[in-house]
């Protein structure tokens, strides 16, 4: 069975925020809602400072804490490993927001918030509300661009290989720091990278078995 996962090369990431913006664009995300973020780690003291960019997103964990705590069954894990939210079932209790140890879920509170306050919604925002309506009062998060994956597979494309079937953040990365593929396929690029480059998961002690790996 397929298990979609991602590998991110910290050596290649330059912190350009293309993944953050492309995700926003792809899903018409409202203000203050981010499904992709960049954390910046600074260690050491001047003049020997090391700065590292960490792109983070929902890890679509194998043992997701959010799925277990959701009281209404809105958050579920699909067979292909993608953790999704049924916005029609979410009650907005935010237990999943608290429970996620990576803090990758956002409560979408205000559907009327504009990118340019006082000037009304832009045309893009209005299109987004029709094409990708999020429900205020529910929790939202990255879904590995499941629509692109589903559409691509239907057209015979391969996610992680063909651009149209791959998550937006992966194809937007100018440094090609992100890889996407099937973690259960030993021949896939992601599996080979994990093995060869000794990729690691973020905070495995949480016991969630994330599907996003990093190469240092």
């Amino acid at each position: 069975m397929t298990r979609w996962g991602m590998v991110i090369s910290l050596q290649k990431c330059v912190g350009c925020y293309s993944c953050v913006i492309s995700c926003k664009q792809e899903h018409y995300l409202p203000p203050d809602v981010f499904w992709n973020r960049i954390l910046i780690s600074e260690t050491g003291k001047y003049p020997t400072v090391t700065k590292q960019m960490y792109p983070i997103l929902c890890s679509h964990c194998k043992e997701p804490a959010c799925v277990k705590v959701c009281p209404s069954g809105a958050t579920t894990k699909r067979e292909d490993g993608i953790v999704g939210i049924d916005y029609d079932k979410c009650v907005g209790c935010r237990y999943c927001v608290i429970a996620c140890p990576y803090q990758q879920r956002t409560y979408y509170a205000d559907g009327k918030k504009e990118y340019f306050p006082g000037q009304g919604f832009t045309e893009l925002e209005m299109i987004g509300k029709k094409l990708y309506p999020l429900q205020p009062g529910t929790v939202v998060k990255c879904n590995f661009c499941v629509e692109r994956i589903a559409d691509g597979i239907q057209r015979g494309l391969k996610p992680g290989v063909n651009r149209e079937a791959t998550p937006a953040c992966v194809i937007a990365c100018p440094a090609k720091a992100r890889y996407f593929g099937d973690l259960n396929d030993p021949q896939s690029e992601v599996c080979q990278l994990i093995k060869e480059k000794r990729a690691f998961q973020l905070h495995p002690e949480f016991g969630t078995e994330p599907s996003v790996f990093y190469i240092a």
């Binding site: 973020r37 954390l39 910046i40 780690s41 600074e42 260690t43 050491g44 003291k45 590292q52 960490y54 983070i56 804490a65 799925v67 277990k68 705590v69 959701c70 009281p71 209404s72 069954g73 809105a74 079932k89 979410c90 009650v91 907005g92 209790c93 935010r94 237990y95 927001v97 608290i98 429970a99 996620c100 140890p101 990576y102 803090q103 409560y107 509170a109 429900q135 205020p136 009062g137 529910t138 929790v139 973020l202 905070h203 949480f206 016991g207």
Partner: protein
């Protein structure tokens, strides 16, 4: 917190205490108070206490939970996953308490001394215990917040709930009920000492729950939450009630106003405790950084 500090520095949880999260705080407090009051009222067989606890849970706790939800009309969906979700289990317990409690109140008023009354008292008592304690399990399940991830948390919540219950029962006794106020005072004394000990043990052991747990305790003891902890939880919630209890024990029964003052301070202490715990919930940094 600046955006570039989010999850790079210690990041406090905000969903369950900031803005509308205030309702979660009030709901947790009233759940503990209502459940504890019901258990104490069962012991003293005080119908007024049982009625007040039932109203606290239905109106205050239920109302606050509904006010907090993003989609309150869908609240019925929250009972659908008791197999894994403590929130689901808790809501089921609350609903069962409301039902059993209502039947118990009716049977105690119109059919006192019957087997029905006893059955509903037992069922309502069990669900009241669950109502008071489940919030502790909801919070301690979260391993991303080390300060909450302790087996002592549900114990602390139920002890404080029962302590609050004794306080209200004493107030009911002062109002002319047939509750033995001396016994109620002894009970509150015992639970006051136990709660103080468990709180101290909890805070001490939290310093061993990793750097984030230690950071939470430091924030409570010396940081921006220190006034709430020391004034609310310790002074109002422990020192003043102990003082009132000592007056009552050594100098004969304290006056009604002193007792009521002690009860109010106890309530402030319980409210402050829940506030401190919700505010003190901190996530550790996700990535290594020298800018903690």
């Amino acid at each position: 917190m600046k955006p570039y500090e989010w999850m790079v520095k210690y990041t406090p949880q905000t969903e369950w205490i900031e803005q509308r999260g205030i309702f979660v705080w009030l709901a947790e407090f009233s759940g503990g108070l209502g459940g504890g009051l019901y258990l104490v009222s069962l012991y003293f067989n005080s119908l007024w206490g049982m009625l007040i606890s039932w109203l606290v849970i239905v109106v205050l706790k239920g109302g606050c939970h509904l006010a907090y939800l993003g989609k309150p009309l869908r609240f019925w969906r929250m009972v659908l996953k008791p197999q894994t979700s403590w929130l689901s289990r808790g809501l089921l317990l609350v609903i069962l308490f409301i039902i059993f409690g209502a039947f118990q109140l009716v049977s105690s008023y119109w059919l006192p001394g019957t087997a029905w009354e006893l059955v509903f008292k037992v069922l309502a008592g069990i669900t009241a215990f669950g109502t008071a304690i489940y919030a502790g399990f909801v919070m301690n399940y979260i391993n991303g917040i080390p300060f909450w991830n302790s087996a002592l948390l549900p114990v602390l919540f139920i002890i404080y709930g029962i302590l609050d219950g004794f306080g209200i029962v004493i107030a009911i006794a002062l109002g002319g009920s047939n509750i033995d106020i001396a016994v109620a005072e002894i009970g509150s004394r015992i639970f006051l000492i136990i709660s103080a000990m468990i709180l101290a043990i909890y805070l001490w052991s939290a310093t061993y729950m990793g750097p984030a747990g230690k950071h939470s305790v430091i924030k409570l003891i010396r940081g921006n939450m220190a006034p709430v902890l020391w004034i609310g939880v310790v002074f109002c919630g422990i020192v003043i009630p102990i003082g009132v209890s000592a007056i009552s024990h050594f100098a004969g029964e304290a006056s009604a106003s002193v007792l009521v003052g002690g009860i109010i301070c106890g309530m402030i202490g319980a409210l402050s405790l829940k506030y401190c715990f919700l505010k003190g919930g901190i996530y550790g940094p996700l990535i290594p950084s020298g800018i903690y």
